[in-house]
Symmetry: C2
């Protein structure tokens, strides 16, 4: 890394942290309508911060919800563009009595910055702004064009983002998208998240007799909707945890042997997980580790079940109806609509006698798989290594990040999830904080990335 | 039947019906504390009615709840005693707007007496009083001693009766117990109910991880409590409806081939049942008819199930807990405690990995099987035949009648369930009524019974 850029960062560290603290003081809780003004204030703050960094086109763009902040610096000399995504909104702070210091009065303790949004995602977004600022101030230019898209609705599921990205596809065109909103594996263990699971979801409704029946007068002669539902759901999974829906695994893109080997090298996860969950034994599809269960294998989970009597004691009723909620986590290669269809077919084929079964589909999302052979990924790992002394591990996450799916579908460019938070930093919980070690090293890593990345 | 007794009944028909109407005017709803005074008024009415019938010892006996009315007539000449049980309390009347005439303003339409309690059980209890009155008035004596036990808490589950019967075992000693509180099979088809199912009940609680989990972050690596519950419950029954709990059927007393043959002669029940329940097909244990499923076969039903998310849409949660309520209907030979134990053992043996399963027992009751070879039963069938031109069918009921279990356990005498109501008479529902045809024939049947029964 050029010494001058690093010097700029070091000399301005205190000023920059004070700026971040100012940003964190704004209670930009997107979920609460009372905070609508604060959310806008945070957007305006981000506009000023991008302008201060030296971006030439900075704009607060309206959406049906909270505004998007857009910033750009470009030069005719540059042939490639880096797009940076972040968000300036934060989670609610309840239960506020569990915070050791007020969530919007940032404090630094033990080299950790405590405040709502410190890590998720004001702190990490701010690092990108300061990395670009340092490069522009010291060099007067950037080696690539930059575009910033900082939204204010991430914590409420980005309801305006799909339309915004689709409507502004040209404006957002770039060669790579950088997002810092995922955790590292642990202290000193940087990670690039290269895969996310998708989702499909449905409700299963079982209907038997036209009303609830007296179990004495009718019991034994008529199908019980709960029994039928239980029998039906039990056909979905075998005793080894493998999903029995025909076609379910057909299109799964298996990770390479090398990728699976790299997961093994991350060390034991089972013991930690058992402790964390308070269970004596884990349970998952035979032939895979716990990390693989959550990262590279699809699931089918019953998230809710209900029918009949739920009060104290017992009631001798044969329930007319029984219901279940199902979601699948899908891995690369699986299509949410196709999997939903397979499940519906399975349920139809296995419907027990004496009941009718109907289904209703809900939310869905496609899985994400990063093109890890693209040079932008190797540079990321190398940049981390130069700063942390450890190459970034290419990991995955079992959850979904809806914005990643949106960008992946609409922009169709490599998405690089370079996070600097730690899993222990209480995102969405009381006492959210950000380790300044990763604030400092993160900015250096980003500057290194800007200085070394290639696109061909 | 002696002509004089019959003449007494015929000549006094209008007076008796007016008396019954007076009885029915009292809104003795035992479930509603506002009606406590009315319940007592009905008890006092029953006392007067027994006194008027010529019983010599009549007493209103206090209990912790509503009083019991006791009446007795005995003679040193008699060696046997008939005990009659009935109840003077009635069900609530909601929804009252569905009644065509006010529930406590009895009216006669088309030879049917409409009022709450007309059939269940004031009308049927009154018939016993009038049969005894006719015999006493005309003959000056009865061929057997008689005891009446008329309670006021049947519609709320007879909470005081167990203790009352146990405390008054000597007082209630008798050779046979007559109860008229069960329906005939249909118009002109008298029936003696010779068997009732017992019950045992339990709750099953499944616990996995210490809290609900995010299905993205953990899904696939940890047991899902709902899946585990579903898998566990599905082991309880096979696809043919046969219960898979070891020992479940071991002690079932199979009905005789003759008894099963007699059920076949009752005619088709399946078509009627499908229509009534609104299902395209019935479902029950292979090898038995629908009537047998509900009368002579034990069941295991899941009456309620719950766990995880039950709201609108979906929530990607792996629930920590899942619960089910189970009741069994038991047939003669099965012991509720033993069956509960068998089920608990089965659940323990089939507990899926990664969860703990606990159970809690609730209400239970023993099955009832009448000693149909006792001469008191043959006389009942013959008495019905003399009046109706049809012998009473020996049938069973799939439900339980808690008072029958109490009498069976404590008094240990034959219990004869000689009902005169029709299944269509809306017990517990709006527009309850009683067919006067069965009121008239019923009194004649009871008098015939008194005049012909033998005990040896």
């Amino acid at each position: 890394m050029s010494n001058n850029v690093l010097t700029y960062i070091h000399e301005n560290r205190e000023n920059h942290l004070n700026e971040l603290i100012e940003f964190l003081r704004i209670p930009s809780i997107s979920a609460l309508s009372d905070h609508k003004g604060d959310v806008r204030k945070a957007a305006e703050w981000a506009v000023q911060s991008l302008e201060k960094a030296g971006l030439t086109t900075v704009e607060l763009m309206e959406t049906p919800g909270h505004p998007v902040v857009y910033g750009e610096w470009s030069s005719a000399d540059n042939t490639h563009t880096i797009l940076v995504y972040g968000h300036y909104d934060v989670q609610p702070v309840d239960p506020v009595e569990l915070w050791d210091s007020p969530p919007f009065e940032p404090v630094i303790h033990d080299e950790k910055l405590f405040a709502r949004g410190a890590s998720d995602d004001k702190g990490q977004t701010f690092m990108h702004i300061k990395a670009v600022e340092a490069l522009l101030k010291v060099n007067g230019k950037l080696p690539f064009n930059v575009k910033f898209l900082i939204e204010g609705e991430e914590e409420i599921g980005s309801p305006s983002l799909d339309a915004f990205v689709a409507d502004n596809k040209e404006l957002l065109a770039a060669d790579v998208l950088l997002i810092s909103d995922t955790p590292m594996l642990g202290k000193g263990r940087p990670a690039v998240c290269t895969g996310l699971r998708g989702m499909c979801s449905l409700q299963v409704d079982v209907k038997g007799a036209k009303g609830d029946l007296h179990s004495g007068l009718y019991g034994g002669a008529v199908q019980n909707s709960i029994h039928a539902l239980v029998q039906l759901l039990d056909t979905l999974r075998d005793e080894n945890g493998r999903i029995q829906v025909e076609g379910f695994y057909d299109n799964v893109i298996e990770p390479t042997a090398e990728e699976r080997e790299s997961y093994k090298n991350l060390g034991d996860y089972e013991t930690e997980l058992k402790d964390e969950l308070g269970v004596r034994e884990l349970f998952g599809e035979k032939g895979y580790t716990a990390r693989e269960h959550t990262w590279i294998r699809p699931t089918l989970e019953v998230n809710g079940i209900y029918g009949g009597f739920q009060g104290e004691g017992v009631k001798t009723v044969i329930p007319s109806e029984a219901h279940a909620k199902i979601t699948c986590r899908l891995v690369p290669g699986q299509d949410p609509d196709q999997i939903s269809e397979f499940i519906e077919k399975h349920l139809e084929a296995h419907t027990p006698p004496g009941v009718t079964v109907t289904t209703k589909r809900f939310d869905k999302g496609k899985p994400f798989l990063a093109p890890t052979d693209h040079p932008a990924f190797k540079t990321a790992a190398d940049s981390y290594e130069k700063v942390y002394g450890e190459p970034a591990l290419f990991t995955r996450m079992g959850g979904s990040i809806p914005v990643v799916e949106t960008f992946d579908q609409v922009l169709n460019i490599p998405i690089l999830l370079m996070g600097f938070g730690l899993p222990s930093e209480n995102f969405h919980a009381p006492n959210e904080h950000f380790h300044l070690e990763n604030y400092d090293k993160g900015i250096e890593t980003l500057i290194t990335y800007w200085e070394t990345v290639t696109f061909d």
